[in-house]
Each structure stands twice: as C-alpha cells, then as structure tokens.
C-alpha cells in the first residue's frame, strides 16, 4: 500500500495541479479572462442606451441588469471549459488518471470561477455606480454575485461536460443551463433589489449560500459522469 501512495500523488495535489494548470493557461491567453469582462460591461451599457438615461428607471432596473449580464457573461465563457482539453486529448488523460474524476471536475469548475466568475464580481461595483444604485446595495451585490457565480460555474460545468464533443455547443449549452440557473438569477436580483429598498436581505443571502453549497457538493459527480459519457 505504501508503494501505491508513493506512486500517486494525493487528492489535494491532483486538485491543485489542475487549478494551477488552468490558471497558467488563462494567464497565457488573457482573452479568456477579458472577453467575458468586456461582454459584461457592454451588455450592462446596452440597457441605459436602450431604455434611456432616466435615473429612476436605471436605479430600478440596475440589480436585474447586472445579474442578467453576469449570467450571460459567465455562460459565454463556459463553452471553452472542457473544449481545449477535449481537442488536445488532455481530457482523456484526466479521465484515465488514478485521481477521482469528481475531484478533478471540481478543480476545473473552480478554476473557471477564478478566471471568469471572480473578475465579474470585482468589476460589478463600477456598473452599480453607473446605474446610480444606492451605496448599501454594493456590499449585498458583491456577496450575492460571489455565491451566484460559483453556483453558475458549477452548474455550467455539468452543461459543458454534456456538450463537449458537440458541434452546436454554445447555443445548446445555454438552453441546458439557463433553466437551471434561473433560481440563482431570481434570488440574486431580488435580494439586490430588496437591499436597494432598505428591505431585509438575509433570507436571500442564505438561499444563495445554500444553493452554492448544494451545487459545490453534487455538481462534480454529475460533471464527472457526463465527462465519461461524452468522451466514450
């Protein structure tokens, strides 16, 4: 048994290696990080341009717009989650490795969040300011967006794994993931709206945290199974 343990690195090392590799790849290809960010900013800018600059309307629609834009931006980057690994064959290596696949799937999804989700969260206050949202909403928005984008990355990893080898991937991925992501949008946008009106927000934050933990717990298993099926 000691031989076995010496030969193969531990769980945590496999996990860390995957995260580190994906972060390095993102560093070498900054477009992967920047494109969703630009998309996020532009979609958010579309609404004031389309609806008009009325301050009252902007304040009212701000939370919803930020959430819809974040959801779409996260979705946009999900397609590539397993695609390059699939194309160069490293996905097969992941599947064949002695490491448990759900753990590696979790690492991939978390790396995706670090690359595509976290930057959205960090940029969101700028958008909140441009929508003239009241100051107390920014904090709530940061918390809800953090939980929400993690849930989206986890849910998205299931969808990305299911569609990895398919031609019409992107549109299909949205079709699969959007209905599942609607609770995140509802809880998130509603909670920020409540914060803007000085109403109690704790319930919404608890729900988002619960959903985040649930997806963190169950999604890796679904993603791992989906990866095995897709690479058959």
């Amino acid at each position: 048994m000691t031989v076995y343990e010496e030969q193969f690195p531990g769980l945590w090392q496999g996990f860390a290696a995957v995260v580190k590799r994906d972060l390095t790849l993102a560093w070498k290809r900054p477009g992967d990080v920047l494109n969703p960010l630009f998309f996020f900013a532009m979609v958010s800018a579309l609404f004031p341009l389309a609806v008009g600059p009325s301050q009252e309307q902007l304040q009212l629609s701000g939370p919803g717009v930020v959430w819809v834009a974040a959801l779409l931006a996260a979705l946009l980057s999900l397609n590539s989650l397993f695609l390059s690994d699939f194309e160069d064959g490293s996905l097969d290596q992941l599947i064949l490795s002695p490491q448990p696949l759900p753990m590696l799937a979790l690492a991939k999804a978390l790396a995706h969040w670090l690359v595509a989700g976290l930057p959205l969260v960090l940029v969101s206050p700028m958008i909140a300011v441009s929508f003239q949202m009241p100051g107390q909403t920014v904090e709530v928005m940061l918390i809800t967006l953090t939980f929400g984008t993690i849930s989206l990355s986890m849910l998205g990893s299931i969808g990305a794994a299911l569609t990895v080898g398919l031609h019409r991937g992107t549109a299909l991925l949205s079709l699969l993931i959007l209905p599942l992501a609607m609770p995140v949008l509802i809880f998130g946008a509603r909670t920020v709206s409540l914060a803007a009106a000085n109403d109690p927000v704790a319930a919404g934050i608890y729900f988002l945290a619960a959903y985040c933990i649930l997806t963190l717990t169950l999604a890796p298993f679904a993603t791992a199974t989906a990866l095995r099926i897709s690479s058959e």
Binding site: I158, L162, T163, L180, I186, R190, A226, I229
Partner: protein
C-alpha cells in the same frame, strides 16, 4: 432471482412490444370513457361556482394538464435514472418518449391557465406568480432535454447524457418552484390535496377526478404507443423487427 428474471423478460424489447400492444386498447378505452364522463359532468352537470360562475369550468382541463406535466417529468426522470444506473435500454426509450408528451401538457397547462387568469385575476400573465413561472421554467427544462437528445447522433450516448440532465433537473424542480414562490404569491392554494379533505363540492369534484384519471390513462396509452415506435426504430437492425416487418416466407 425469479423477480430479476421476470424484470429482464419485461424489459426485453420484443416482449414489451407485444405486451404494450395488448395494454394500449384498455388504457385508451378507460381514458376516453373517463374523459367523456368528466367532460359531460364538468360542462353540463356541475353547478357554476359561487364566485367564478361558469368560468371555473376550465379547471377540468387546466388541473389535469398541470398534473400530467409534472407526472410526465417524474416518469421521465425516474426512467432516465433507472436506464443510467441499471443500463436498461427500454427505460431510456420510455424517458425519451415521455419528454414531448410532458412538454405538450405543460404548454396546455400554461395556455389554459392564462385564459383562466385573464377574467379572474385580471391578467393574461403575471410574472410575479410562482406557479405560472415555475411551470414556464419546467417547459424550458423539457426543451433543454429534447434539444440535448436531438444534438447527439449516437442513441446510446444521447440516452446517457440526457439522463444526467433529467436527473439534475429533477433535483432543481423543487428549488425552482420555491425560488419563484419566495418572490410572490397570487395563485390560490391547493384544492385537492389538503389535510382536511378536498375543498370542492362533490358534484364538481367527481368530474374533475374523472378528468385527471382520464388524462392519466390517455397519457399512459400515448406513452406506450410512443415507446413501441421508439423501440421499433432503435431495434431496426435486429432479427425480431425484421421478422415482424417481413414475416417468414415473404422474401424480397
């Protein structure tokens, strides 16, 4: 082990194909009889409601459709799960056949609900309402499931991939339902399933129950017929389908 042998025999496509053909007429006749009884009873014999008058009669289509939209999803998710875990092909065929039926029932429930909502609530569609919204998201879940199936050419792969989606969706349905519930409440509470018995007069209740069971039997008949067609297509290269289509002695 006898039970396993029995189940394996049941799940064998040729056996199922023949058995379903015998069951379908019974389901169809029972379903149509209940449907006719429910329709006549609901439209002509049930008294008008004390508040809504004759308009409440749309309940005889709306409630069965909404009920079946959920039942079809449960059937689909369970069949998909069984197919994935125990690798039973017939089970996947059932899941694949249930999805379009479920989507149509969901659509019917949404349309009748909308027609009912206009005069009674004063709106065709109310985004704030939990049941309307979660039913709509259910329709989207069906769309996603069918789209994923359609996108994968290899049937065995499509079966497994869509099974995962169906199961993930099943976990999410209570969450979706609750999320929209949290956001508002306009739809009335449950009429039939309540601790103190149904809150509906018996002359109105019996036709409604007949409609629900009638719809269920018709769903069963339609589902079995769809599964038969699906099985026939999937087994198109097998011996028994060949024999079925071209009986012995009938050579080309």
């Amino acid at each position: 082990m006898a039970i396993w042998n029995f189940l394996h025999k049941m799940a064998s496509p040729p056996h199922f194909y023949g058995l379903a053909a015998k069951i379908i007429p019974w389901f169809a006749v029972t379903g149509i009889a209940l449907f006719v009884y429910g329709a006549i009873g609901g439209l002509f014999y049930a008294p008008p409601d004390y508040q809504q008058g004759d308009a409440f009669r749309i309940i005889y289509v709306h409630v069965p459709a909404a009920y079946l939209s959920m039942l079809a999803y449960v059937v689909m998710a369970i069949a998909a799960g069984i197919g994935l875990i125990w690798r039973i092909k017939l089970s996947h065929a059932v899941a694949a056949s249930a999805a379009p039926l479920g989507a149509w029932f969901t659509f019917l429930a949404l349309v009748t609900g909308s027609i009912w909502g206009r005069p009674m609530w004063g709106t065709w569609w109310e985004w704030g309402d939990p049941r309307l919204t979660s039913e709509l998201i259910m329709l989207f879940l069906y769309f996603g499931y069918m789209a994923l199936r359609a996108a994968i050419d290899d049937t065995a792969k499509a079966d497994k991939a869509s099974a995962i989606l169906a199961m993930v969706g099943a976990v999410n349905i209570p969450i979706i339902h609750f999320s929209v519930e949290w956001w508002s409440s306009l739809h009335q509470g449950a009429t039939l399933v309540r601790a103190d018995g149904p809150a509906i007069e018996t002359t109105m209740l019996y036709p409604l129950l007949a409609m629900i069971f009638g719809f269920s039997f018709l769903f069963g008949a339609l589902l079995l017929q769809r599964v038969r067609a699906e099985v026939l297509f999937r087994e198109r290269r097998s011996r028994w389908v060949h024999d079925l289509v071209m009986p012995a002695g009938d050579t080309q």
